[in-house]
Each structure stands twice: as C-alpha cells, then as structure tokens.
Symmetry: C2
Subunit: 244 residues, 2 copies
C-alpha cells in the first residue's frame, strides 16, 4: 500500500508521500511516489501516486514522453497546458491509456486496475489548485470546503486531518500536520513506510524551494513523533474517566 496526502491552503500547497512498495509482504522496496515538474516563473506541478507501481510508473513515463515529444509535435503536455484543469485531464488520459494497454492482462490475472493520483501546483497567474484523479481517469478538485485530499491507506491518518486542517494554516504548521498524519499511519500499518517525501509549495513562487526526504533518523520527525505521543498520553490522562 501507500499513503499520500496533500493540503490546499491560502498560502500554498503541501504534499507528502511515503515510499514503501511491496509485492507480497516478503518483497518490500523503496520507490518514489512524489514526482514534480517545474519551469521556474511559469509553473510547478506535483504528482503523488498510489496503486499498482507498474501502472503509476507507466503513467509518469507517458507524461514525460509527451513533454519530450511536444517540442516537435506541439501536442499538449504538462509543461505546455494552460491550466491545472488541463493538466489533470492529461493525467487522467494517461491513466486510461495504461488501462487500455495493461488492463485486460491485469484483470485476467485477477489483479484489478488500481491507480490513484493527486495532482497539485500552479500555472502562471492561476491560483494554486489540487486534484484527485481516479483509476477511471475522471477527477475532482479540492475547493474551499476541502483543505486536504488523500490517496492510498488514508484512514489511520484522517482523524487528525479532520480535526485540525483548515485553509488558513501556515505552511510550516501544515507540514507538521501532514507529518503527524503520516506518523499515525506508520504506527498502525506496516505497508506504509519511511522515508517520507515532503514538498512545500509557496503560493505564487512558481518554483520548488522546499523539498525534503524524511528518513528514520530525521531529527524533526523524531522530535515530532515523540512529542505527539507524550502530548496525546498527557491529554488522555487529563480527561475524566468513565464512571463504573
């Protein structure tokens, strides 16, 4: 499994993805699930992927092929489309193309077709935006009522997001929140694993300035996990017991 989440805030976007991939529980590996494309001053696009790794890697390869081909063909690509909406359409089309190629064989092997993506970023003078693309290639956009979107193993880390996330959060506070959501997931589900890729996009910067891979030995993450555990236990202790 995988856990990816992103926050859409007044000040920008924050993305995080784990890196664990497993084919059975005895074949565990580390793969990047956070991908980005940037043309400083023009656009930043960030893609988080969950699902069958062969499918999501093919989606990224198709998107990169389009970028390389577009100089010659003038066909649209992530680096040329005029809006995030059009970029989400391209990602959806790439998912559908992979399904056309690999879907029947996967289904014949009873593996199903699993691929979900989060796509966020900013193009030119558009406001930053965030989309979730489904395995069928259709998608939704986060709006002012939806401060966050998640894909993959999302349930363990949802309660803290439900309680705390709000569009007015600062970027540093939001990164803290996302990492706490990952901490809860990592503790409860072995199929989600470190390191975590974290990317913070500041509105209107049109550049990627804060990207970090957070491993087991990351000082801030260790502080965060231990401070949160202690704070939770302390908070729990302060609440009156149920009277028996």
């Amino acid at each position: 499994m995988t856990y990816c989440a992103a926050l859409r805030l007044d000040e920008g976007l924050v993305f995080a993805a784990d890196t664990r991939t497993n084919a059975g529980i005895d074949n565990v590996a580390t793969f990047r699930k956070l991908h980005h494309w940037c043309s400083a001053g023009d656009r930043v696009l960030v893609l988080l992927t969950a699902g069958n790794l062969s499918i999501t890697q093919s989606v990224v390869s198709l998107l990169n092929e389009q970028i390389e081909a577009s100089a010659a063909t003038q066909a649209p690509s992530l680096m040329s489309v005029p809006s995030l909406y059009r970029a989400a359409r391209l990602v959806g089309d790439a998912v559908r193309e992979v399904r056309r190629v690999d879907g029947p064989a996967l289904e014949a092997g009873h593996l199903g077709f699993s691929a979900s993506c989060l796509l966020g970023g900013q193009i030119g003078t558009e406001p930053p935006s965030l989309f979730q693309i489904y395995p069928e290639g259709n998608f939704i956009e986060a709006n002012e009522d939806t401060a966050f979107l998640q894909i993959g193993e999302h349930k363990y880390g949802k309660p803290i997001l439900d309680r705390v996330a709000r569009p007015s959060m600062g970027l540093g506070e939001a990164a803290k929140l996302l990492l706490l959501s990952f901490d809860s997931t990592l503790r409860s589900n072995l199929s989600v694993g470190m390191p975590i890729d974290l990317l913070i996009y500041a509105r209107d910067s049109l550049d990627i300035r804060h990207e970090r891979r957070i491993g087991q030995d990351d000082e801030y993450f260790r502080y965060l996990a231990s401070a949160w555990s202690n704070a939770l236990r302390e908070a729990f202790g302060k609440i009156e017991e149920f009277e028996t």
Copy 2:
C-alpha cells in the same frame, strides 16, 4: 458498516459497539450489535457482531435456539460449554451453518459473505478471555501482547488504541479510551453511528453490572468529545512547526 472493539485487561473486559446499519446510504437504521448471555455466578458471555446483518442476526438466533433446545437434547450451548474456547467454537460453527444455508445465494448475488464477531467473557474459574471469530468460522484469542481486538470499520479508531491501550489500565480508563476510539471513527465515517452500546465486565464478578447505551445527548460522551478535541488542538499547537 460497523465498528466494534473490546479491551482485554487485567481487571476485566470492556466492550463497545455502534448501532448503525445501512442497506445503501438511503436506508439507515439502528440495530443492536452487542449481545450478551449471563448466568450470574456461573458465566458471562458478550458477543459483538459486524458484517451483513442478516448473517449476524441468524448467528445469534442459532445460538439462542441451541440454548433453548439444550435442556431437552443435552447438546452443547453457550450456557453449558465448559470454556470460552468451546463457546468460540460454537459461534464459529453457527457462522459456518449460516454460510451453508445463505452463502450460495449471497454469492450468486455478488454480495459475498461478511460476518465477524468478537466474543469475550468468563466462565467459572477460568480467567476472562476474548476471541475474534472470522467469516470462515476460525478464530484467534487475544493474549497478553494484544490488549484489544476490533472488527468492522477499525482503522480510524486504531491509532489511539495503539498508543494508549495496555492490559494494566483500569476499567473506567479503558471505557474512556474505547469511547475516544469511537469518537474518532464517528467523526470520519458516516457509516458508523450513535448510539454506542458499552459493557464493562469486572473480572470474577460473573455478572453484568455495567451496561449502558450512549446516545447523542449523553453528558459524559459530549464532555469527552469536546475535551479531547480541545486537548488535541492544544497539543498540536505546542509542537514546533516544520521549518520552511
């Protein structure tokens, strides 16, 4: 869906189950999923059920039929078996009997066969114990390394149990913890709903003295939910932000 959880503690057992049942999202009803049998001084058995309501109700009906018939037939029933292990076997057998009767038609309708149970209690001089029975009728028993078991929509409420549950907790503290686990689940998943049935079993009491249905207007639950929200937000605020 459903959420049921139980804690196995040095001082006894604590059980909780929600009561929401839905057939589609436009057909929502309240059904009891916490069932118990008690012969004061001899035994207490508590069964929590999740899955297809027609299946789990049939399981309970079969178990009750056995109890009624056993006076005449001397066949084993929940009220006569000498151990919780044997009681879990009876529940597993009842699940298999319902599968024999209803399974083929359910599977022909592509509905699958979903039924999970938690069975806990105490018989005579045995220590209290807690079992999880799977849809196939096999089961596991909680031991000293497993302070809790969950069935149904268990992921949202697991992080808090993972962090706080331990066998040495008092019963009132454990009831508080279970209710917090339910609070997280209720906030994140509409298919789990109030009221919550809560049952606290004190070791060696061989009687049910604390059973309570906790509804929307329950004063303690409202205090708990609001105190926990405030405590979490306060704890979140105290942790240093991620440096951007």
